[in-house]
């Protein structure tokens, strides 16, 4: 970033002179608002750094007690810095880069951040003990709705705008790197460089906006190493760097999910990577210290201070006391000195020094030291230890163990899967040179393993000695997100929740937005203290994916559900068809009044686009055997040129599909399936062919979209089709009902014509090569204009078939309807030696159980019972349900199909239909399913 002091503008009262590693661009600045007030920022500032540069020190109110909260980590994890940005809640304010015009506000404060009514919770702190919600709101259960309303008002987490808020833009990406390095600190960068040099394709994933890890806020030597590592990453062949991206999880066979943020034109992207070797270089997370007042704004971790000073040139306070147990604390003290902060006292924990409590409310006023002395200050810095973020390793089966020397949990490197490696701080400590060297070795080994080489052992970093510091002599906050104190954990243990997993759930410690990354080790240590066990005996809680928060939008990805359109769909749209999405297809529901369309079909001729009907081309000498197996009826004697209706069941006897199949040649058949069943039935046929009968010679080819299909229906359909077909004899004797012909329609050869009648009328179904579908459609309409030909939609077809009593699988049957309950008794041939579902259907016939499909005629024909209406027999006994119902324009009354108990299924039986509005209507079971033309004169015409 530019540090050109001639053009430098100082933005913010707490902004320091240019720092060597700063990431803000001082050449320019812009404005944004925070709780309605305008602030300035430089490009590169996070929301939090820009506000801190102007002296803002309270960013939120805490979850339970609504205590003022300031910056603690100044990183993505900062629990006090969840903010509302525009209509987006829960933005990580210490990570999100501030943008010009951004509207930022605090969350869940009322009426304002500085005066929050809910802070009275703190006065009632004694009434909000561990497990408060469980204890208070459990009983009586009938009061839950009221409790929920109260609790909602106190819920944390920002506000969502109404349904008119713009939806986000999300997408997903697949990647297949040989080596994926999770973490772009010095060890991770070195691993990526070495892996790339060894020939591997590498993806290097870094949570922050730049590579570098802790080197970014380091001294001159560290910054110099950082520059050279960055140069090497850029120069190495085949490293793709993702910044502002976090590895969320590791699953079987190194299936790795990554959330990638900060991209142009997309809010968040989910990257799914299949990785040869995974290198976990997740570094270390600094651990807060537990003592009274440790959440007062102005108490910060040493890394927070180092970030603020070195990355953003922000002075975090005026008078500082530093509690240090390690070099990070020492460096923070030095940074503060250099920044002109008055470091009034350094308490060295390595020599047994300690702090007792901080006083202050909206800002630190003073700190009481271990020796009893109280020092006035506005900044208390703690550097008391580290947490190794081992979660990715535990997702790969690692069992982390407590290392008493380093006072932290560390992975069991020796027992990792060969495809998972680790380097850097998550494993152990070392000088910068040692970290880089270990990273290089591990990266090289990862490339070898990704290439299939036998694993060779790699040197392991070990933790440096560190004092074990978790809690001072006072109680303080352990989980800053959930407002859980060490006292709450002691209470939980007192009440018997001695296991870490139970105490965690009871108190909700580690269960907030930070998900344990800051507080897990302290939680375990305090439970260990309260139970009188060691930390190793207590053990850590389980880490599960996702490691970082991810939007549901990113998980869902972009909306990419392909819609199938018939070749005639453009025509339908031009002619005002009302679209209907049916499974994968969009098709016309109606063009105008569906009753008019029905009348056109009954009185003249109509055409409907039935392209979505599933079509399978079957060839081979054993097709008839296959048909005999999968259909409940007989197929061995189907002559060439004939078509037959068939029903398929699964082996439990339940109806799964129906359709007609025609025999086009000696070994050539065309099968139709329901529109929704097209792909499943293809797989179903393949299942039986490949598993039970691999010797049968049958080729199954799906041709659903290879043909456009048009049903020409109505008493004048023959007359119409004769004008368009020249080479097929369409006369009643030349082309009888349930026959198939191939021929030329509107000049298009290779068409298949079926004479079938789903609508109950004389009809011909034309299957034409898809590319000619629109031509044939338009030709038929033109040829039949003087006959009054009309296009009709799915709704008219549903009325027509219901008048005719033809069932629809999945509408008039469900997932439990066996063939005996689908009015197929005449069709099912139980004397066949085998077909799928045969034994079940024999037993159903023997026992007579199951409901029956019947047609109903309401006594008052003007009443239309809704589909799904319950049927009631004598004495209020439920006896079935309406499966289909429509008003029949042909009959001038309601027609319905229903599933009815066999006791009420005989023709003439009366049932009562319970209507949606609570009323009832009487209905009678009709003699035939067909209420129009039950004798089938019309279809045979």
């Amino acid at each position: 970033m530019s540090t050109d002091t001639r053009t430098a503008k100082q933005v913010g009262s707490h902004r320091l002179d240019p720092q060597p590693g700063e990431v803000v661009d001082r050449t320019t600045s812009f404005e944004f608002t925070w709780n309605g007030r305008t602030y300035s920022a430089h490009p590169g500032d996070t929301i939090a750094s820009a506000l801190a540069a102007d002296g803002v020190d309270v960013f939120s109110r805490s979850f339970k007690y609504h205590r003022p909260r300031g910056l603690l980590t100044a990183s993505y994890l900062d629990p006090g810095c969840m903010l509302q940005v525009g209509d987006e809640p829960n933005v990580r304010g210490a990570h999100r880069l501030v943008q010009p015009g951004m509207v930022v506000s605090s969350q869940d404060t009322w009426p304002s951040l500085s005066f929050d009514v809910k802070a009275v919770n703190e006065l009632a702190r004694r009434a909000l003990p561990a497990g408060f919600y469980y204890k208070t709101f459990m009983k009586p259960a009938r009061l839950w709705p009221r409790y929920e309303r109260v609790l909602e008002r106190f819920a944390h987490g920002g506000t969502l705008q109404g349904s008119d808020a713009p939806t986000g833009r999300f997408d997903q990406r697949y990647a297949h790197p040989d080596v994926l390095v999770a973490g772009g600190g010095p060890a991770g960068m070195a691993a990526a460089i070495a892996a790339a040099e060894a020939g591997a394709s590498v993806m290097l994933v870094e949570e922050e906006h730049d590579l570098g890890g802790h080197l970014r806020w380091g001294d001159e030597a560290e910054l110099s190493t950082l520059r050279s590592l960055r140069d090497s990453v850029a120069a190495a062949p085949g490293i793709e760097v993702l910044t502002d991206a976090v590895v969320l999880g590791r699953y079987d066979d190194n299936w790795v999910s990554i959330v990638h943020r900060g991209l142009p034109h997309v809010d968040e992207r989910l990257v799914k990577a299949r990785v040869g070797a995974l290198v976990v270089a997740s570094g270390l997370i600094e651990r807060p210290y537990v003592f009274a007042g440790n959440d007062v704004p102005g108490v910060m971790l040493s890394t927070a201070v180092r970030r603020l000073v070195n990355l953003y040139a922000v002075r975090p306070g005026d008078r500082a006391v530093v509690l240090t147990a390690n070099s990070s604390g020492d460096a923070a003290a030095a940074d503060l000195e250099r920044a002109g902060v008055d470091v009034v006292h350094v308490e060295d924990a390595r020599r047994g020094c300690d702090v007792v409590r901080v006083r202050g409310r909206s800002r630190v006023r003073s700190v009481e030291l271990g020796g009893g002395r109280t020092v006035r200050c506005d900044l208390v810095v703690t550097a008391t230890g580290w947490t190794a973020p081992v979660s990715l390793l535990t997702m790969a089966g690692d069992q982390p163990r407590y290392d008493a020397t380093g006072a932290r949990f560390r992975p069991d490197i020796a027992n990792l899967l060969p495809s998972v490696l680790a380097t850097g701080g998550v494993v152990g400590d070392g000088s910068l040179d040692e970290l880089v060297a270990n990273g290089r070795t591990i990266g090289n080994e990862a490339a070898r393993r990704a290439g299939g080489s036998h694993p060779s052992s790699a040197p392991e970093l070990t933790p440096a000695p560190h004092p074990a510091l978790f809690r001072a002599t006072t109680h303080g906050i352990v989980d800053f997100s959930e407002d859980v104190s060490s006292k709450d954990l002691f209470t939980a243990v007192d009440e018997g929740y001695r296991s870490a997993e139970l105490a965690k759930r009871y108190t909700t410690a580690t269960m907030g937005p930070v998900q344990g990354k800051l507080e897990t080790v302290n939680t375990v240590a305090i439970i260990a203290e309260a139970t009188g066990r060691t930390i190793a005996e207590t053990g850590t809680t389980t880490w599960r994916p996702p490691y970082a928060s991810v939007t549901l939008g990113a998980l869902a990805g972009a909306e990419r559900e392909p819609i199938r359109r018939s070749p005639m769909q453009t025509w339908h749209e031009r002619h005002d068809a009302v679209p209907l999405q049916a499974g994968a297809w969009i098709r016309p529901d109606r063009y105008g009044d569906p009753n008019g369309e029905v009348e056109a079909v009954r009185d003249g001729v109509g055409i409907i686009d039935v392209t979505p009907i599933g079509k399978l081309d079957l060839r081979g000498p054993d097709v008839a055997r296959l048909l005999n197996l999968v259909y409940v009826n007989k197929w061995s004697k189907l002559d060439i040129g004939r078509v037959r209706y068939g029903v398929m069941c699964s082996d439990d006897g339940v109806v799964i599909d129906d359709g007609v199949t025609g025999r086009l040649g000696e070994d050539h058949y065309l099968m139709s399936t329901t529109s929704s069943g097209a792909s499943a039935i293809w797989e179903w046929l393949e299942l039986w062919l490949q598993t039970e009968h691999p010797g049968w010679q049958v080729h199954v080819t799906p041709v659903t979209t290879a043909y456009a299909s048009i049903n020409v229906a109505g008493p004048r359909s023959r007359e119409l089709l004769e004008r368009a077909v020249s080479d097929v004899d369409l006369s009643p004797d030349g082309f009888p009902y349930m026959h198939v012909r191939t021929g030329t329609v509107a000049g298009v050869g290779g068409c298949v014509l079926w004479r079938i009648g789903f609508t109950g009328e004389l009809s011909f179904e034309v299957h034409t090569p898809a590319g000619y579908g629109l031509h044939v459609w338009e030709s038929l309409l033109e040829a039949g204009s003087d006959l009054g030909v009309r296009p009709f939609g799915v709704e008219a077809q549903r009325i027509l078939r219901l008048e005719k009593g033809h069932l629809i699988v999945g509408q008039d049957t469900d997932g439990l309807t066996r063939a005996g309950s689908a009015a197929l008794d005449g069709l099912v041939k139980l004397d066949k030696s085998d077909f799928v579902g045969l034994p079940e259907l024999i037993w159903q016939q023997d026992s007579g159980d199951g409901s029956r499909l019947v047609a109903l005629k309401t006594v008052d024909g003007s009443v239309l019972p809704a589909e799904g209406s319950q049927l009631i027999a004598e004495a209020g006994r439920l006896c079935g349900r309406v499966t289909s119902s429509r008003f029949s324009p042909t009959l001038g009354r309601t027609v319905a199909l229903a599933q009815v108990d066999s006791a009420s299924a005989a023709p003439g039986c009366e049932v009562t239909i319970r209507l949606v509005d609570g009323g009832t209507v009487r209905a009678v079971v009709t003699e035939h399913l067909a209420q129009v033309d039950p004798e089938g004169v019309r279809v045979r015409g």
């Binding site: 079987d252 299936w255 299949r274 082996d651 037993w843």
Partner: protein, 80 residues
């Protein structure tokens, strides 16, 4: 998600496959009893051990194949 070693296509993402389930033997419909048939339809051993399974490579070669999988470790091996 794990990878499944397709005999025709090699290791592929499990999402490309349909899982048919433990391999069962279909009884002879002519002689079967309701108890035997319902075992075939519904009863699976579901052991925490090696199991013999059928998979379908829906987005690949479209072959049904039989393979052994260890239900605890997700290791695959050729059927014995």
């Amino acid at each position: 998600m794990m990878q499944v070693p397709c005999p025709s296509c090699g290791p592929r993402h499990a999402g490309e496959f349909g899982y048919v389930g433990e391999v069962t033997t279909r009884p002879d419909p002519a002689t079967t009893t309701p108890a035997e048939w319902r075992d075939y339809l519904y009863l699976r051993r579901n052991r925490a051990d090696w199991t013999v399974e059928r998979w379908y490579h829906r987005m690949g070669c479209r072959r049904y194949f039989v393979i052994e999988r260890h239900t605890v470790t997700h290791e695959f091996r050729s059927p014995s």
